[in-house]
């Protein structure tokens, strides 16, 4: 197989240099783009997923309250106005959780060139005010702020429960994995009870133990970044260290049982079918082999899941599969008329039983390899972006340096895909799958309809 040197060159340009500035770990990438991007991240470890998720719930509640304004900008609207009047986006700080790790991320986007420096200074000033002295920190002002944020956080939890696909996935994950110990109902209970003091305690304790990381892609020099960003990071970062950047925890789907028919207010049946791996992949190559198998099975229009279940039998609008490394499984997902459950269970079982047992053709391997190679130059970060854009590069950096999802650089990952052949895939299928072991989980109003 011959690698495409144009792609190699493009992917090399997406690489990052590592610096330590003060106590902040900084990853910098040079990009020639109209806008620059930075993620300001603070990462804290908790003892277990339960503590981390409880902290995340309070953290989201705190952010809702923080958004309500500052003494200078007394409403959410006036805060937004302060940013947009200067023709910059208001940053959306948020929490993200990876098992027992919680990451507080402030994404910043600002123009390239000379305007960029002034814009970044302006944005950081506002963000600093928002973090240091929001109304939620002021005892005389925080009661209505907290109550409004509480109501909003409760509604968000309720709305998540009413998103049928999301709810189904949440129930599936909670039933079989330890990563999501709190249900939406548990989260609601935490939010109902929390006081302003609880919120501030959580956030301050989180920051106190946090480790700071900056990811940057744009045309600003490391020296300018150091001048502008590092004081901000030093102000808020705590006494955490790099040891917080650990490999993801790998969980395992337990021994398969009978199909589950969870009831919920969805007219369509959400169908999830998990195929656990017999063991954890020992190296990056094995992970790539599993990605490719999951892709062949149902990652493309050309995949047998789509071609047979949608195109031949017209049973669904879409059906997909993917490899989930942190759950050590390949899973299929679709939603369909409950009347079609038996047929979809039968067909998906046959198809997965073929591909995941190594019955793949040279033609399938050929298009999968070709697709995955070409897809290396794009990502969906809200919308389609190419590898020359800061948002592509920052997303990759976040996955690699913070979540530790891959040890390979983009370029090496590309070469890895290129090196995969049919025998490798057949061998991986044999090593990792017993397709008789699989768990079906469904979510619908009716359950199984015979």
């Amino acid at each position: 197989m011959a690698v495409d040197e144009e792609v190699i060159s493009l992917l090399k340009e997406a690489s990052f240099k590592e610096y330590v500035l003060g106590s902040t770990l900084v990853y910098c990438n040079e990009a020639d783009s109209a806008r620059q991007m930075a993620y300001l991240c603070f990462i804290t470890d908790y003892d277990n997923p339960l503590e981390a998720q409880a902290a995340e719930v309070l953290g989201d509640f705190f952010l809702q309250a923080m958004e309500k304004g500052t003494p200078e900008y007394k409403t959410k609207g006036s805060l937004i106005r302060a940013f947009r009047s200067a023709r910059t986006d208001k940053p959306e700080p948020h929490f993200a959780r990876a098992h027992h790790k919680l990451i507080f991320n402030i994404p910043l986007v600002f123009p390239a060139g000379e305007n960029g420096e002034n814009s970044l200074k302006y944005v950081l000033k506002l963000v600093d005010k928002g973090l240091a002295s929001p109304l939620v920190r002021i005892p005389e002002e925080n009661v209505p702020v907290v109550e409004q944020a509480r109501a909003e956080t409760m509604h968000e939890i309720q709305e998540r429960m009413m998103n049928h696909g999301g709810r189904a996935r949440s129930l599936f994950n909670r039933k079989y994995f330890a990563n999501l110990p709190l249900s939406e109902e548990d989260e609601a209970r935490i939010v109902k009870k929390a006081s302003a003091d609880n919120l501030l305690e959580m956030f301050d304790a989180f920051l106190e133990r946090s480790f700071p990381i900056v990811l940057f892609s744009g045309d600003m020099s490391p020296k300018t970044l150091e001048t502008l960003l590092i004081p901000f990071m030093q102000k808020y970062a705590g006494n955490g260290n790099k040891s917080v950047l650990t490999e993801p925890v790998i969980e395992q789907l337990p021994k398969a049982g009978e199909p589950v028919f969870e009831k919920g207010p969805s007219d369509k049946m959400i169908f999830i079918r998990g195929y656990p791996l017999k063991e954890v992949p020992g190296n990056e190559r094995e992970k790539y082999l599993l990605f490719m198998l999951g892709y062949i099975l149902g990652g493309s229009w050309k995949s047998p899941l789509m071609q047979i279940i949608r195109e031949k039998h017209n049973l669904v609008y879409g059906i997909f599969s993917s490899y989930f490394p942190e759950r050590n499984m390949v899973a299929i997902e679709t939603n369909h008329d409950p009347l079609f459950y038996d047929k979809i269970a039968e067909l998906s079982g046959e198809i997965a039983g073929g591909v995941l047992e190594g019955n793949v053709t040279e033609e399938q391997v050929g298009w999968a390899r070709s697709d995955l190679l070409e897809r290396k130059v794009i990502t969906y970060s809200g919308s389609l972006v190419s590898c020359n854009q800061p948002s592509y590069r920052i997303t990759d950096a976040f996955n690699r340096f913070i979540l530790k999802k891959s040890k390979l650089s983009l370029k090496d990952g590309y070469k890895m895909i290129d090196s995969i052949g049919i025998d490798d895939l057949k061998s991986a299928a044999g090593k990792f799958f017993d397709t008789n072991e699989n768990q079906i989980f469904t979510y619908s109003k009716t359950g199984r309809v015979k």
Binding site: I80, Q148, A151, E374
Partner: protein
């Protein structure tokens, strides 16, 4: 500035190449025909054709079908493009992907059906494939009928989403005669009734090259593209000019067919609280307007929506102070060829109060007009959004297509952005009475299953 190179082929196909800094090329082949058109005069037979709702979308699905290869490894020559059945059909999506296209898809909206791909390589070859399947329908009858299953599933997905359902009802309330009163995807009743004869007539009328646009964004050579496409069209027998169909005024009147559904709200168990969705309809007399007027009207519409309901706006703050729920208060404006829509929604325990507040607020703005300060804020807000759009080749390409449909020329997107920098408060206020027509406002209520009526 993104340079644009236009070229119109002998067949009438309008080709545009737009520079964009990316290793990718985004290619869109579209017709300004979508779910809104439910009646037209067939250009060949002169008969009036009435389409079932969802016809344009159904057709978009099946147009990807391609004839099988023969024993010589080339597509078979067919005597009829609608055989009763055919084995080993190919499909355009697979063909493009096998030829290294990274993203391949199509979409149908109210006034557009757009076939597109994004690729790093093989632009011309893939363009040839796409022109082939889009311009020459090959529709075995049994395969055409089978697609009903997939599309019904897609429609049921929509039904399974309470917000989609609410939006569907609002459109039915707002529009009296216009095709927009039906969902683009069609209904569970209309989809199975869509006939092959009608879609073939539809294709002959709306998919003729003179009615279509090819917009190529990113790495490309317009000369080579134009030559390759012209040659392909010739080989398909589509190289000669046939005039585009006449634009037909749908004669949508002002006024809503139902002001509100509060006596008979949509009931959905999934929603935690009552939610009102409101829409301001604007009817555009396309044939009577110059491009500059259209641009101003659409821009003014976006600015008015932002001023009235957009985040950070003072009017929105006032509405929140008067009880509109800040978190769920969303708004947006969509502009189409011959109509436009400002929508807003929020959860509320008092739908009647919400309805009256919004109605009075809009009428008040008609009297007091918008201040230059608020226009300036709205301008900056929208320009910041435009900055974001340009970060994505896909979003940027979509904007070009949108303005192509609105004005007949994708380049008007750039004119619109320039105009957005300059349009004054006076100019926006002069257009206010065309944008906020009190009788063109409707409200649709959705309540939880357990909720008591007002």
């Amino acid at each position: 500035m993104n340079e644009v190179r236009p070229k119109t082929l002998d067949s009438g196909l309008k080709v545009y190449h737009v520079n964009y800094n990316s290793p990718l090329t985004h290619v869109q082949l579209f017709t300004p025909f979508g779910g809104d058109t439910l009646q037209y005069r067939d250009g060949d037979t002169n008969r009036i054709v009435s389409l079932k709702p969802g016809s344009a979308h159904y057709f978009e699905h099946v147009l990807f079908l391609m004839p099988p290869f023969g024993k010589n490894g080339k597509p078979i020559k067919w005597r009829t493009n609608i055989p009763k059945t055919k084995k080993n059909l190919r499909d355009g999506m697979t063909e493009l992907q096998l030829n290294k296209a990274i993203v391949t898809n199509a979409y149908t909206w109210n006034d557009i059906t757009n076939y597109y791909f994004v690729t790093r390589q093989n632009v011309l070859e893939n363009l040839g494939v796409m022109v082939d399947f889009v311009l020459t329908p090959y529709l075995p009858q049994d395969r055409f009928k089978k697609e009903v299953g997939t599309i019904m599933d897609e429609a049921k997905r929509s039904d399974n989403n309470p917000f989609s359902k609410q939006s569907e009802i609002m459109m039915k309330q707002l529009y009296v005669k216009h095709g927009a009163r039906f969902p683009v995807i069609g209904t569970l009743e209309s989809i199975p009734q869509i006939s092959l004869d009608d879609v073939l007539s539809m294709h002959a009328t709306f998919y003729r090259p003179s009615n279509m646009y090819l917009v190529v964004t990113g790495k490309a050579d317009i000369k080579r593209i134009a030559e390759a496409v012209a040659k392909k069209l010739e080989s398909l027998g589509k190289g000669s000019y046939l005039p585009p169909p006449e634009e037909v005024d749908q004669e949508e009147p002002n006024g809503a067919s139902m002001r509100d559904n509060f006596d008979n709200p949509l009931v959905r168990n999934e929603v935690p609280k009552p939610r009102v969705l409101a829409g301001w309809k604007q009817v555009l007399k396309l044939l009577a307007m110059k491009t500059s007027e259209l641009i101003d009207l659409h821009l003014a519409g976006h600015l008015v929506c932002q001023v009235l309901y957009g985040r950070g706006g003072k009017n929105r703050e006032e509405l929140v102070k008067k009880g509109v729920d800040e978190r769920t208060f969303e708004s947006g404006r969509s502009g189409f060829k011959d109509h436009a829509l400002i929508c807003l929604t929020a959860m509320t325990e008092n739908p009647g109060q919400f309805r009256d507040l919004i109605s009075d607020n809009g009428q008040s703005l008609l009297r007091t007009k918008i201040s230059p300060e608020e226009v300036e804020y709205a301008r900056n807000y929208l320009l910041t959004d435009e900055d974001k759009i340009k970060d994505s080749i896909g979003n940027f390409g979509n904007e070009l297509a949108r303005w192509g449909v609105l004005t007949g020329d994708p380049r008007s997107y750039f004119r619109a952005v320039e105009r957005l920098e300059k349009i004054t408060a006076d100019e926006v206020n002069a257009l206010l009475p065309k944008i906020l027509i009190p009788e063109n406002l409707a409200f649709t209520l959705m309540v939880p299953g357990s909720h008591q009526k007002d």
